[in-house]
């Protein structure tokens, strides 16, 4: 695990209140895998105090194909992300990671369906590259795991859809849904998915009600489903026990598990939903 001050190489707006920040950090970039996350913190301030967790969006490669940086895509929602949006390239951020576990193994299916609600699309670009075998992570050579990857991506409105071209360029089939019908299917992304019927394994990330709907669809269709949770975190490394989710135990009960070390991706069938 690395704890670094990393230079911001690039900082661009992708959509309404949504930005991509590119950090120079070769060692972290070489180690991190899809599904894992990093903690980011603004230096020289105690307010905001704690680091904030952000998924790996993409690794950045140099001309020779060596990992030299990581991309994080974030939505401005509060204190830290609001200040982050003002950070200019050339300045530095504190970063530590890789944190958490990679996505669970999906086996070798024909078709993997990724389902994102809002900013929940961020962990899926790197994962799509890994599944399609177009990029290796954590020092591994690229290996094709799935013939096809589809992203179902739901947003409130068209202006919030971020990185759609990145997914298409990576060879992902993208289906959009919006609450107001301003782009793609009008309605929830899980309704769009449902209208397409059953298929291969599902992977979800987004607001909890959406993930719960997804988990119910997966049960009805009897297909494997994992979801990446975004519980509030204070440390990101397993030290504070603040990021817990309820996970079923062998004895028929449940226990709080730390999302930062036991996840963030969990088998949806193993979670206790509120």
């Amino acid at each position: 695990m690395y704890h670094r001050t990393a230079r911001v190489a690039e900082h661009v707006r992708l959509a309404d209140r949504t930005y991509r920040v590119r950090l120079d950090c070769p060692d972290l970039a070489a180690a991190i895998r899809p599904g894992q996350f990093v903690m980011l913190r603004l230096p020289n301030t105690s307010d905001p105090l704690l680091g904030r967790p952000f998924a790996l969006y993409d690794t950045v490669l140099d001309a020779a194909g060596r990992p030299v940086g990581v991309d994080v895509v974030y939505l401005v929602v509060g204190k830290m992300t609001g200040r982050l949006a003002d950070v200019t390239s050339g300045t530095s951020l504190e970063v530590w990671g890789p944190l958490g576990k990679p996505f669970l193994d999906v086996g070798a299916p024909d078709h993997v369906r990724l389902v994102a609600g809002g900013i929940g699309q961020t962990p899926f670009l790197a994962f799509a590259r890994e599944l399609l075998g177009t990029r290796g992570f954590g020092g591994d050579a690229p290996r094709k795991r799935a013939a096809k990857v589809t992203l179902y991506y739901g947003v409130r409105t068209a202006a919030l859809a971020a990185g759609v071209e990145d997914f298409r360029a990576a060879g992902v089939d993208v289906h959009l849904a919006s609450d107001d019908g301003s782009v793609g299917f009008r309605g929830y992304v899980t309704q769009l998915l449902e209208s397409h019927g059953t298929g291969g394994p599902l992977v979800g990330c987004g607001p909890e009600p959406m993930l719960h709907s997804l988990a119910r669809l997966a049960t009805a269709w009897d297909v494997p489903c994992q979801v990446s949770l975004e519980t509030p975190m204070a440390c990101g490394v397993g030290a504070c026990f603040s990021c817990v989710a309820r996970v079923k135990t062998a004895d028929g009960g449940w226990d709080y598990k730390r999302v930062c070390v036991d996840g963030p991706a969990f088998d949806a069938a193993g979670l206790v939903w509120d």
Binding site: S46, L49, L50, T231, P232, A234, C240, V244
Partner: protein, 306 residues
């Protein structure tokens, strides 16, 4: 060469930089980031007699230069600790101080006896008399008589294990509680645990934390903790371990000069996970800058202009 070793009663540490209970997991979580040999010691998360699920989330929320937590002592119980965490902790190249919380006085004593019997490898035992997040927890170190009794009875069942009483700041006079702990036979007191507080979401008219209230920690509480430590140090009855808002070398030096014989770094482990080792590495320079050759020589050297 600056001598960094300190003694607090029978507790001996090779340097005064400890990491606080509940902010360092069971140490294993921090192994990829922290070289334990550089620390004076680690204090794993509080264990209770029986397993506890802990409080419902949200369990933490950030506040101005601080955070509130209401974890609720989520842990798998003392026997699990002894069987699964202690074997690892025992291998660490630094002092390990256990931390226990009982629901009742008797439970504290039973747990202390069990640790004394089965906890070989521990450099000491901290009694968490002060967790604000479990009903009953707050009560112990708000009452000097109860504090004295628990410390004395634990002392009796673990005659040769250094004991540290961890105090709550949520009292009118922490000096009296510290004096009672000293009287009960504590080798040291640690001050302070978190300050009880709350956060509200007015739009939803809801408390932010699942437990409604929580404990405040981080840089925001440093001046409050410093004053508590200074007051206890003035008793000259028991060594003090300073805790509260420590995140930099300057913070550590402030606490030492104000009377702390050692310090614990808590919330800073979350936002700056290598702070503890960097501070420990820089400490000799700061001690030397005061013209001292031992860290113990700067403890309690605060002078108040007349």
């Amino acid at each position: 060469m600056v001598d960094l070793s300190v003694s607090l009663g029978r507790l001996r540490l090779h340097n005064p930089i400890l990491v606080a209970s509940g902010t360092f997991g069971y140490a294993k979580e921090m192994a990829p980031l922290v070289d334990f040999a550089k620390l004076g010691g680690v204090i794993p998360k509080t264990v209770t007699a029986a397993p506890r699920a802990g409080n419902r989330p949200p369990r933490t929320v950030e506040t101005a230069s601080g955070m509130l937590n209401a974890i609720g002592l989520d842990n798998d119980g003392l026997e699990h600790f002894l069987a699964h965490h202690l074997p690892y902790l025992r291998t660490l190249p630094t002092a390990v101080i256990g931390n226990i919380a009982g629901k009742t006085e008797d439970e504290f004593v039973q747990m202390a006896a069990r640790v004394h019997a089965a906890g070989h490898g521990l450099a000491g035992l901290e009694l968490n008399l002060s967790c604000p997040n479990v009903s009953g927890g707050l009560d112990f170190a708000t009452d000097p008589d109860v504090t004295r009794r628990i410390v004395r009875r634990c002392r009796d069942v673990c005659p040769d294990l250094p004991l540290v009483a961890k105090l709550t700041p949520n009292v009118t006079d922490i000096q009296r509680i510290a004096a009672a702990a000293a009287d009960g036979g504590a080798d040291a007191v640690s001050a302070v645990n978190t300050f009880v507080g709350m956060a509200v979401d007015w739009r939803r008219r809801r408390p932010v934390l699942g437990n409604v209230t929580g404990g405040l920690s981080g840089p925001a509480i440093k001046p409050l903790a410093l004053r508590a430590v200074w007051r206890i140090a003035q008793l000259r009855a028991v060594p003090v371990i300073g805790v509260g808002g420590i995140g930099t070398l300057d913070d550590v030096m402030d606490f030492l000069v104000a009377g702390a014989s050692a310090v614990q770094i808590g919330t800073a482990n979350f936002y700056d996970p290598t702070a503890s080792v960097r501070i420990a590495a820089a400490l000799p320079g700061a001690v030397a800058a005061l013209g001292a050759d031992r860290v113990a020589a700067v403890v309690g050297t605060l002078t108040i202009p007349s």
